[in-house]
């Protein structure tokens, strides 16, 4: 099955709702859009499930505010209504196979509700009830907020905990970000997008009824319109500092190495080329990092790369490995060697073709099984109004990539190795000895990476 036709779907969006805003109402912060509402119907999923994703663009908030709003949404969804206790809600969801997922992506808050086709209409009624008749519990909110916090990587030694902070830093770096007094109680009104995965007419009718009842922002927001804001957002710098962030733990026999770069691409083809090359470097058992660092050098269990999309033509490129502390400079040199060979176009074409096949397969599966993931891609591709049949440029580029031509473009689509930020957490020799000339920031024991990212981003004294 080809990916390309699978991504042909139709949408018509026409709703009049100006502005976006956060307004106080009954001591609760109303999270609602006053933009045009875009209702989009995508191809149904292939697993017997229907889904609805609601998207609220929470502009110019810091990630801490975003986390508070997400905790507020979770409290509304699970904290009980005037007719159902939290336990009764959980029991209902469990017995019907209804899943609710919240996430934040760039400055958007996503809620995806998924249920078997035959009970999806009922699940939408349930959603309507909790959104309108919730009973807010401050204790529940406090717990949700705490649960959304991530561990410090200095404790957990998980690369995902570093990347969580890095993504947050990239989102918060814009100068107009601020933390307004949001309070601790929220209610949720009209979203900016409603993305439906169902071809059932009755479901479509229910969705429209639900959206009609959801209040828009009032008074209108002080913030500019979404499309204007988006232009501004996309024009802002997307970059990480270079240098070294270090948490020294002399008691540890292991050291986590993480290289990360925030890369902006000229077009989707370049982005896909970089994605396939980075996968070739470190994704899976067929990758160069696995072959050399694990199987030849026997130096790490988990050498890997990750290509994380963070907006249209923007991605976070990472390579990581946890190694024996005494060996980290040697393995760092190996990672550099692998990367620079690829940068020069020195690539096994068969291996690259396999990575491309895996990428296409991964996108196909996610498109038909993961409603939240698809919604994120849709919002990236079509933030504004769109009519009729549409396609996502990134998906087309993945399908149509000329893999043979990719190696020759490696030094164009991938950043130079020196442009990666290096994070070293664990034991072994200090990076100040290995890289005496590099910008350096030392992390405290109970400190997140945030301060170092800010410090390395500032001009040197």
């Amino acid at each position: 099955m080809s990916l390309r036709p699978a991504l042909v779907f139709a949408a018509l969006c026409l709703i009049f709702m100006p502005n976006i805003g956060i307004a106080q109402e009954r001591k609760e912060t109303l999270i609602a859009s006053s933009d045009d509402l875009r209702i989009v119907t995508l191809l149904p999923m292939d697993n017997g499930l229907s889904a609805l994703t609601l998207v609220w663009p929470i502009r110019d908030q810091t990630s801490l505010s975003m986390m508070a709003i997400e905790a507020g949404l979770l409290s509304v969804l699970l904290g009980g209504t005037d007719s159902r206790t939290p336990w009764e809600i959980d029991t209902y969801l469990g017995s019907k196979g209804v899943f609710q997922r919240t996430s934040t992506y760039r400055d958007n808050l996503f809620l995806t509700i998924t249920a078997p086709d035959e009970v999806f209409g009922e699940a939408l009624e349930h959603l309507k009830n909790v959104l309108f008749d919730f009973e807010y519990s401050d204790a529940w909110y406090a717990r949700e907020l705490h649960a959304l916090q991530r561990p410090l990587a200095s404790k957990s030694r998980r690369t995902s905990d570093v990347l969580f902070r890095v993504e947050r830093f990239l989102n918060d770096v814009r100068p107009n970000k601020k933390d307004p007094p949001l309070g601790t109680r929220f209610r949720f009104g009209r979203p900016s997008h409603a993305i439906l995965r169902s071809d059932d007419d009755d479901v479509g009718t229910r969705v429209r009824r639900l959206l009609q009842k959801m209040p828009a922002a009032d008074p209108p927001s002080f913030i500019s319109k979404w499309s204007d804001w988006l232009k501004k957002f996309n024009a802002e710098k997307f970059a990480l500092p270079t240098g070294v962030v270090h948490f020294e733990d002399p008691s540890s026999s292991e050291t986590m190495l993480l290289l990360v770069n925030a890369k902006e691409f000229e077009n989707e083809d370049q982005q896909v080329g970089a994605n396939v090359l980075l996968d070739y470097i470190g994704s899976g058992i067929g990758s160069e990092m696995f072959r050399i660092i694990r199987q030849e050098l026997r130096a790490s269990y988990d050498p890997k790369s990750r290509f994380a999309i963070l907006g249209p033509r923007r991605a976070l490129l990472t390579m990581s490995a946890t190694v024996e502390a005494t060996e980290w400079p040697k393995i760092y040199d190996q990672m550099r060697g692998i990367y620079e060979r690829v940068l020069k176009g020195n690539v096994d074409q068969e291996g690259l073709n396999l990575q491309h096949d895996r990428l296409v397969s991964n996108y196909r599966v996610k498109f038909f099984r993961d409603a939240n993931w698809t919604a994120e891609h849709f919002v990236d591709a079509y933030p504004a109004t769109v009519l009729g049949e549409i396609q996502i440029p990134l998906f087309n580029s993945i399908e149509e990539l000329d893999v043979e031509a990719v190696p020759a473009q490696a030094d164009v689509v991938l950043p130079p190795f020196e442009e990666y930020l290096l994070v070293v957490i664990g034991g072994g020799i200090s990076p100040t000895v290995v890289f005496p000339e590099a910008a350096y920031c030392s992390l405290g024991k109970h400190e997140a990476i945030d301060r170092c990212l800010e410090r390395l981003s500032s001009p040197r004294d």
Binding site: A10, I39, R157, E254
Partner: protein, 432 residues
């Protein structure tokens, strides 16, 4: 304010794929299987692929007095099989997983690749054959993996502490995996392979897009020459703590992100030799009790951030309950423990109702339906009971099982689980 919406649904008809339904999923035994403990085919054309799960009925609990040997053997056998059959490692991902009681090798591919998948599975039983130096250095990889997982998941070592205190031993149902790392060696791994990777200790499940006759033919071709062998001894079957045991250990560590109450309880069904006839009761009773635990600790109380509960039912009819509770900031560990223990001891203060059992049946059905939607979940479902050497249970098979389990049996089983029994607790606080 009104909303005006028009929707155009332009579906490409060729892309409309049938929705998932939980159709009957038969488990067909394969008779001509050589000396294998068992072999089954579960035909299912939903996923357009074939999966072969080779299950060695030994895992971490079967380590000799040297933790990590079963794990090292898993690595060696997986890479050896891949190298022997494929010659080029990059063609596929090795998929081998070790559990407490079994080790599972999964080979997946298109239906036309079935012969290769069977060859790869068969090669797991051959003594590992790896390039000079590679096997020795795999020990180094195991060091990295063990230390990495230990650091990433504090619950691993908290539970290990609790199990050591419960069983009074560092081997069998507990382990000594960090302290034993320097002692790992190939000789013991090959010996483990020789004893445990034998036909009579191996079960095979072929599932997916394959005809039963074709599967039977393939099993006969690749396993028909294997002989019935001695079954390895399982000393952990006899590890039983004193029923009145209650231990509490307190510790503090800078590796923890959250304060944690880790609790393990051991319940022995002394009058039963096997768990095979109690599966329905186990699934339903633990679902009912889980619901009561969650209701009390999470939904009616907000002093815990999260609670995780896991029940392990061994093939020799004993149950290990593992519970981890994470108190909110400001809630001390002793208060959290008091809440947990009070909840566990009072779980049946109110009798279990018919409605609760019906709710458990509905939840089990939903779980089964969800498992039918994704290949990985379906495979997990199949191997769950099969790792004990029993016939695999499919999602639809489980639906039949729970429908045929009486309410009285569920209540009787739950009562046994709640009775006072050996318990080990670790109170772990973050180092400030």
């Amino acid at each position: 304010m009104g909303i005006l919406v028009s929707l155009i649904l332009a579906l490409v008809t060729m892309l409309v794929v049938p929705a998932t339904t939980v159709s009957a999923q038969d488990v067909i035994p394969i008779e001509d299987r050589g000396g294998l403990h068992s072999a089954y085919v579960v035909p299912r054309d939903r996923f357009e692929r074939v999966d072969v799960q080779l299950i060695v009925l030994s895992g971490n609990y079967d380590d000799p007095n040297l933790s990590g040997i079963a794990h090292l053997t898993e690595h060696l056998a997986a890479f050896s099989a891949d190298r022997t059959v494929l010659r080029r490692a990059r063609e596929r991902d090795v998929n081998a997983l070790i559990f407490d009681v079994a080790t599972v090798y999964t080979n997946s591919g298109a239906p036309e690749e079935i012969e290769t998948l069977l060859q790869l599975s068969r090669a797991v039983l051959d003594r590992p054959d790896l390039p000079p130096g590679f096997a020795e250095s795999e020990i180094k990889i195991l060091h990295r993996e063990t230390l990495l997982r230990e650091r990433n998941s504090p619950n691993r070592w908290l539970r290990r502490r609790a199990l050591k205190n419960l069983f009074g031993s560092s081997y069998g149902r507990a382990n000594n995996v960090i302290e034993d790392l320097p002692r790992l060696n190939l000789e013991d791994a090959y010996k483990f392979h020789e004893i445990h990777y034998v036909p009579s200790n191996v079960s095979l499940i072929i599932s997916g897009d394959i005809e039963p006759d074709e599967a039977a033919k393939m099993v006969a071709k690749y396993f028909g020459d294997t002989d019935v062998s001695a079954v390895p001894e399982k000393p952990w079957h006899d590890q039983k703590p004193d029923k009145s045991l209650r231990t509490v250990e307190e510790l503090s560590s800078d590796r923890l992100s959250d304060d944690t109450v880790a609790l393990v309880k051991f319940v022995d069904f002394e009058d039963r030799a096997t768990s095979i006839d109690l599966q329905g009761e186990f699934f339903l009773a633990t679902t009912v009790l889980n619901n009561r635990i969650w209701k009390a600790l999470f939904f009616e109380d907000t002093s815990l951030v999260d609670v995780s509960v896991d029940w392990f039912f061994s093939k020799v009819a004993d149950v290990e309950l593992s519970l981890a509770a994470y108190p909110m900031p400001g809630v001390d560990l002793h208060s959290a423990l008091a809440l947990v223990e009070e909840t566990l001891s009072g779980l049946l203060d109110e009798p279990i109702t018919r409605e609760e059992i019906e709710q458990a049946r509905r939840e089990e059905n939903v779980y089964a339906e969800n498992a039918s939607r994704r290949t990985t979940d379906f495979l997990r479902y199949l191997r769950n009971v099969a790792m004990d050497g029993f016939a695999p249970v499919t999602p639809t098979g489980n639906q039949r099982l729970i429908e045929s389990t009486s309410d009285e049996d569920v209540i009787r089983f739950a009562r046994k689980l709640v009775e006072p029994a050996a318990t080990s607790i670790v109170l772990a606080s973050t180092e400030k």
